[in-house]
């Protein structure tokens, strides 16, 4: 079945260092939509960015991700972490049946 895997449950890094949160997915659908949602403490999840185009970089609020269908990946990156980036990040997949599947989430903690 369709699924999303986020291998890191917790990522801790120092402010100013680059961020990379891993996301891989599994689906038989050849044109999936991939999403990153972010949830700050005591808030609800909100969309950070999304993509359905193979090998095209998508950017928003300093973050970027590129959908690579060849490796079924959609990793989230940022060149320099900020304290305010500390949050829970979810990768999600939308398949041909319009069902949306979320990964288990990665907690990002940015320290001074």
């Amino acid at each position: 079945g369709d699924s999303v895997t986020q291998t890191e449950g917790l990522v801790t890094l120092t402010e100013g260092l680059p961020v990379m949160l891993n996301c891989t997915y599994q689906t038989i659908y050849s044109n999936p939509f991939l999403f990153w949602y972010v949830q700050h403490l005591n808030e609800s999840p909100r969309l950070l960015l999304k993509s359905f185009t193979d090998n095209k970089r998508t950017e928003h609020q300093g973050f970027h991700a590129t959908l690579h269908k060849s490796s079924s990946s959609f990793h989230l990156q940022k060149s320099s972490a900020q304290l305010s980036d500390s949050a829970l990040y979810y990768c999600a997949l939308r398949n041909s049946n319009n069902r949306i599947f979320f990964g288990d989430g990665t907690q990002l903690v940015v320290k001074p």
Partner: protein, 114 residues
């Protein structure tokens, strides 16, 4: 900006009791969803709806019912609450849009079943 409102924000229930979580959206979105959020499990889909009068089972529907009486309202019902249903519940509405559906989440309901 999309608006999804959940009530109550917090709820304490007793085992075996009935619990109703309410969700209202003013975005005129057709799709609505109920998720529960637990550490280590992320967001898991309980029930969803494609419009008034329709409800569909998600990935973990056991112990839950849903009701969509109107475009705006989508309720989650726990007929016989159990401690394992202690969780944070999020309602979302879906904007199908031009490219892909964006979900707009409510503020969540923290449910504790004693």
């Amino acid at each position: 900006e999309a608006a999804v409102t959940q009530s109550p924000r917090n709820k304490v229930a007793v085992t075996g009791g009935k619990v109703t979580l309410s969700c209202n959206q003013t975005n005129n979105h057709n799709n609505m969803y109920w998720y529960r959020q637990d550490t280590g499990h992320g967001l898991r889909l309980i029930h969803y709806s494609y419009g008034a009068g329709s409800t569909e089972k998600g990935d973990i529907p056991d112990g839950y019912k849903a009701s969509r009486p109107s475009q705006e309202n989508f309720s989650l019902i726990l007929e016989l609450a159990t401690p394992s249903q202690t969780s944070v519940y999020f309602c979302a509405s879906g904007d199908e849009g031009a490219c892909a559906e964006t979900l707009y989440f409510g503020s969540g309901t923290r449910l504790t079943v004693l």
